[in-house]
Subunit: 141 residues, 3 copies
């Protein structure tokens, strides 16, 4: 966690652009929150044409849904939204008017990654210490 | 926002049915909430057979997930659920017994559309006034 | 409800493994919560390679998202997380380090299945009695 899912029109992204977007989403999330990059998960999904509608008419938007831990300051969440929106437009050429970005907050006690229950915001250091061996073995620290 | 995602068995929907469903979902949401149609986003995703299970056995259900702003009255949310369910059955022939519909509520401060943070419920008019130029340019007003 | 969505790398799962996973996810959820198996919905989605990134680099993780009713004890939620994680690794051979599992809680009043609004946790028996004819007709009781 976080997990960012990016739905976009088939053909908008090539392999190289996906790699660049993944690096930038990771950087934006880590800069805003201070977590290590090894916890940032990103998925890209292509949407065939004719499957997206706005106002009941066919459209070609991209949708980013980010699952994050509950409790981040509003300023941090909105910084992430703003930077994602501008970065996506810069790297893909798709205008901000065709982009819908949402963050979804989940209590970390509802999340298991690599067999470990996630820590609350602010309790990461203690959690890193407690699970150092496991996280090091997995290359996450 | 809202964003409705509709997962259905491959082959259930053709292009024309998708268009009709999109119009009806848009109409149902706007009638219940009063927002302009230009804010209603809808995605259709096909599921190959053998990928959906109920009670551990293969099944052929459709799943509608609607992401909406937090704070709508329960009566509005359940009106949307009921009308979506009946409308889906009417347009697709799929019985209500094969349909799972959920609304997911998100604080609008966690949502950015067209580069703009979303307003709270009840604060739309002020937000429309503040962002009139941008929204008009995008054809959303 | 619940609805479990399982995203995994294309080629990881064959038809037989999907069936076994569906049986086990259903069993784990029902053992932990006491609900009948007929309410457990599971979807599998394949992800082509090059679409999943961790730390900005291509990776091959699986993601399980479970939509459940709000209000389950933390111990029940974390039992489900732990058992899902271990079971997935046992049946697929994919190490726990490549698995991200989240539960997402929704008020049951936001959910309609088979044309019926869902009951709160603890009010199932009354709901079963009220809707016995409909649920029996659908094979859900």
């Amino acid at each position: 966690m976080p997990l960012y899912q990016c739905l976009s029109p088939e053909g908008l992204l090539d392999e190289s652009t996906r790699g660049n977007l993944a690096e930038e989403i990771t950087r934006i999330h880590c800069d805003a929150t201070g977590i290590p990059p090894s916890f940032v998960n990103i998925i890209f999904l292509d949407m065939p044409s004719g499957r997206y509608f706005v106002a009941g008419k066919p459209a070609a938007l991209s949708v980013l849904n980010g699952a994050i831990r509950v409790g981040r300051d509003l300023a941090i969440r909105q910084r992430i939204l703003r930077e994602l929106s501008q970065m996506w437009t810069r790297l893909t050429g798709q205008p901000e008017g065709e982009l819908l970005i949402s963050l979804w907050e989940n209590p970390p006690g509802n999340v298991m990654e690599a067999g470990l229950i996630f820590p609350e915001i602010g309790q990461e250091q203690q959690w890193f210490v407690q699970n150092r061996d496991r996280l090091t073995e997995l290359g996450m620290l």
